[in-house]
């Protein structure tokens, strides 16, 4: 492998340097029908799962075919997306916030061939490359984080559980039978790069063991005061530790009973790892939403305190999610989001209908907001 220079000269880093130019201008990338009708759209309709039409006051129409996909994507796969976009969409394509791929065409007769082509492309193991769906009252792509493919703090994988969950939930990706949309999200640790805390169903990686202390290295690798200040429960204090050679080293001590396993100390100090094959696993949360429709946005609530990491397919996690989805599909009223349904029937009923065990872990004991989640009324259901 010979080093290939881009033209950058390390001896003169400022020579011809271009900085602070920001992203490309979105207008360059708009399909002509979008550019022409921007701000003029009258209404839209979902013609079938994964296919939308938007109609403009100019009379123009744009048809969108939405395909799911793993957000972890190779350049070979992106080039295949480009091939399709060039064949059917004059080289235009877009991605959605939830990692779906949208192919847009300007007339209805172009939809069927495009859809057929997308569904004909399969991977050697039989998986769809471009499943069409993810619209309306169903389940669209799971937004997620990096997990074991690239992150240093995860308590579970991301792409693996997402693939496993989407396989189990696939029928609802291609159908619209639910009372309302149902958003599933995954974050592989509490840092929540994926901000899953307002999802109908959230899959969250969580540690359950306090950090190990690499005393010999903590002072070398970390700013100890920063590690101490990083702890939200003040469980970490400075400590002098006698090393094997008898010398005293500066390190920290952790009050394990105060640890809430957030991993913030590890973020600040690599000498305090938390990861553990048995300790780490999954928390399931439910009932959140971000839309302001009918009721205010809501946080997801913890409904299962812990499920072990069961690579490669996380069966208990996916079964539990499927059970919640089915209970919701059967019992909720039209338009009711999962959280609205749980609030209407009462959480005691939610646990019953979803066949979930209620344990002490699910009662909030973290600071002031906890009190507001206890039941301060005689109104409850037996």
């Amino acid at each position: 492998m010979a080093f290939i220079s881009s033209g950058y000269d390390p001896k003169e880093p400022m020579k011809d340097r271009i900085t602070d130019i920001g992203p490309r201008d979105y207008e360059e990338f708009y399909p002509p029908v979008i550019k022409k009708n921007k701000g003029k759209w009258l209404y839209h309709e979902i013609l079938e799962p994964g296919v939308l039409v938007h109609v403009s006051e100019t009379g123009d129409e744009v048809y969108t075919v939405r395909a799911g996909g793993a957000r972890l994507m190779s350049v070979s796969h992106i080039r295949e997306i480009c091939d399709i976009a060039e064949k059917y969409c004059d080289g235009h394509v877009r991605f959605t916030t939830r990692n779906n791929i949208e192919f847009m065409v300007d007339s209805k007769d172009k939809v069927e061939p495009l859809k057929k082509d997308l569904l004909s492309r399969k991977q050697p193991g039989g998986c769809y490359k471009f499943p069409v769906g993810g619209t309306g009252a169903g389940i669209t792509n799971i937004v997620h984080t990096q997990g074991w493919i690239h992150c240093h703090t995860p308590a579970t994988d991301a792409s693996g559980p997402v693939k496993a969950a989407m396989d189990v939930l696939f029928d609802d990706f291609t159908d619209m039978r639910l009372p309302a949309k149902l958003r599933v999200s995954l974050a592989c640790c509490l840092n929540m790069c994926g901000a899953v805390h307002c999802s109908d169903i959230a899959i969250l990686g969580y540690h359950r063991k306090p950090p190990m202390l690499d005393h010999e290295h903590i002072d070398k690798a970390c700013e100890i005061p920063l590690a101490i200040a990083a702890c939200p429960t003040a469980a970490i204090k400075p400590a002098k530790i006698e090393s094997e050679g008898g010398a005293k080293v500066s390190s920290v001590a952790v009050n394990n009973s105060r640890c809430m396993f957030c991993g913030n100390c590890y973020t600040m100090c690599p000498g305090m790892p938390l990861a553990d094959d048995v300790g780490d696993g999954i928390v399931l949360m439910a009932g959140g939403k971000v839309s302001n429709r009918i009721s205010s946005p809501k946080f997801s609530k913890v409904v299962v305190a812990f499920i072990p990491n069961e690579a490669p397919r996380w069966p208990k996690t996916t079964e539990t999610i499927k059970r919640m989805v089915e209970a919701y599909a059967k019992d909720a009223r039209k338009y009711e989001r999962l959280g609205e349904w749980a609030e209407r029937i009462g959480w005691e009923r939610f646990f019953e209908k979803c066949e979930l065990e209620f344990t002490h872990h699910l009662i909030d004991d973290f600071r002031d907001p906890a009190y507001f989640t206890w039941r301060q009324t005689t109104n409850f259901k037996f």
């Binding site: 492998m1 290939i4 881009s6 400022m14 900085t19 920001g22 992203p23 201008d25 979105y26 708009y30 921007k38 701000g39 759209w41 009258l42 309709e45 979902i46 799962p49 793993a70 957000r71 972890l72 994507m73 190779s74 350049v75 070979s76 796969h77 992106i78 080039r79 480009c82 235009h92 394509v93 877009r94 791929i101 847009m104 991977q123 039989g126 998986c127 490359k129 499943p131 009252a137 169903g138 240093h152 693996g160 693939k163 396989d167 619209m176 840092n191 901000a195 805390h197 307002c198 957030c262 913030n264 094959d277 048995v278 302001n292 429709r293 009918i294 946080f299 690579a311 039209k334 973290f366």
Partner: protein, 437 residues
């Protein structure tokens, strides 16, 4: 013959959903064949080692990635995340495996010539594996070595007119919903505002000077498709002040069943005939709708613009014409003190270039947060610590009932001395003349 055996990952190659494992194997194969004769700048078997290290994590139940070191491009403090493998001898191809965040175009619209250029660059100088896209919105290029960083940056800026995104304690790459480009609900041009502010605040984006991360997200309407209300330090949510526009003929068409409610959202089940009373009027959270002489009436003054009726009958009801946006502040995920939803700060502002009113609010919030915020304290946490009143003071925004869900239920008001007649200084001896000890 694969370099590493991956019996666990192989089990993710079946089922209907696209398999990332198969996709990485495809890239591994493409690099092994190297039909184009590329002089790869990362090891040719890098994708094999990605699979190998991931298989090991599946076996161990633990990650094998270490903290990032300080790597980046000259003059920027963000945009690159350092990443090293903790088993470099077993997986030399991914021993150094840094991430680049590339600032996505607003709305995530692309032309294939741009994507192909990006693919060529990343095949040559990186692992060939990406995220389209990361959670914040960037194009994520996963895995390259330190010497390649400047080369990639040079090619991005010189050949593609394209910059990096944010990471660390700076303005993170702003992102938006599809907005007016293809959505009739959008109350402002999300792409225009997102791009304008991204370009305006390039210094804040590339050179970390904040206590912690700061996110902007732009939702065209209260449906909040980019979840700004849950995850942005400042969220910009489209809204309107005047009346919902009603097409009474279309209302009748929904009632008569000629138009499918919800734009066909619920077509997968037979929910029975559409019932406007039950499905729209009865579910209106402010009870501001009724039928009169076969016409749908709305008391718009009482409407809180939740979007339900518009979502159900998009051909009959349209957003108003006096449009702008609401600014909400302080959302964040749970680290550290629990999750926070964004709180309403500016009920209504027009979203028109040059967006001066919006920038005034942004900059006054930043001045305060940079002065008072502690290390790794999000602005939402600072508001909790110093009070919403303090936020109103620093932004010079008048308190109004719209700012609260309900007024406080305790009377522990921190009266300021200048609010109380005569001030706080009093003469105890004068008091004692009338009140014995």
């Amino acid at each position: 013959m694969a370099k590493h055996k991956t019996p666990l990952l192989d089990q993710l190659e079946t089922g209907p959903w696209p398999s990332f494992v198969t996709d990485i194997k495809r890239e591994a194969e493409s690099r092994a064949k190297n039909e184009k004769g590329i002089d790869f700048q990362m090891p040719q078997d890098v994708c094999e080692d990605i699979l190998g290290v991931l298989e090991l994590s599946f076996k161990h139940g633990r990650t094998h990635w270490k903290h990032g070191g300080i790597v980046g491009v000259f003059g920027y403090g963000g945009g690159v995340i350092g990443r090293y493998c903790d088993q470099p001898e077993m997986f030399p191809g991914v021993a150094h495996f840094h991430t680049l965040r590339v600032n996505q175009p607003a709305g995530k619209f692309y032309k294939t010539d741009f994507l192909r250029q990006l693919c060529d660059l990343w095949e040559l100088r990186g692992s060939g594996i990406t995220n389209m896209h990361g959670s914040t919105g960037d194009i994520i290029l996963l895995g390259t070595s330190t010497p390649q960083l400047e080369e990639i940056f040079y090619e991005l800026t010189h050949n593609m007119n394209q910059d990096l995104g944010g990471s660390g304690s700076n303005l993170r790459t702003p992102s938006d919903c599809i907005g007016a480009a293809r959505c009739e609900y959008s109350c402002y041009d999300t792409q225009a505002l997102c791009t304008h502010l991204t370009k305006e605040y390039q210094d804040e984006l590339h050179r970390p000077a904040f206590p912690y991360k700061f996110k902007f997200k732009f939702d065209g309407c209260p449906n909040c498709c980019v979840a700004s209300i849950a995850r942005a330090d400042l969220s910009f949510i489209g809204t309107w002040k005047d009346d919902i526009r009603i097409d009474q003929e279309a209302v009748q068409a929904y009632i008569g069943g000629e138009l499918a409610p919800n734009a066909g959202d619920h077509a997968g089940r037979d929910w029975g005939p559409f019932d406007i009373q039950k499905e729209v009027i009865g579910l209106c959270p402010t009870e501001c709708m009724w039928m009169e002489d076969n016409k749908l009436m709305i008391e718009d003054k009482e409407c809180t613009r939740c979007m339900h009726c518009i979502n159900v009958m998009p051909r009959a009801l349209r957003i108003g014409e006096d449009r702008g946006l609401s600014m909400l502040i302080g959302a964040k995920a749970p680290i550290l003190d629990g999750a926070q939803m964004a709180s309403l700060l500016v009920p209504f502002v027009k979203a028109e270039e040059p967006y001066d009113e919006i920038k005034e609010v942004i900059e006054s919030v930043w001045d305060w947060w940079m002065e008072e915020g502690k290390n790794r304290e999000r602005v939402g946490e600072l508001i909790k610590r110093q009070g919403f009143q303090r936020l109103l003071e620093v932004t010079n925004i008048k308190p109004m009932p719209q700012h609260v869900q309900e007024p406080r239920s305790n009377p522990y008001i921190f009266w300021k001395e200048d609010e109380v007649e005569g001030g706080f200084e009093r003469d105890i001896n004068e008091f004692r003349k009338h009140h014995q000890r």
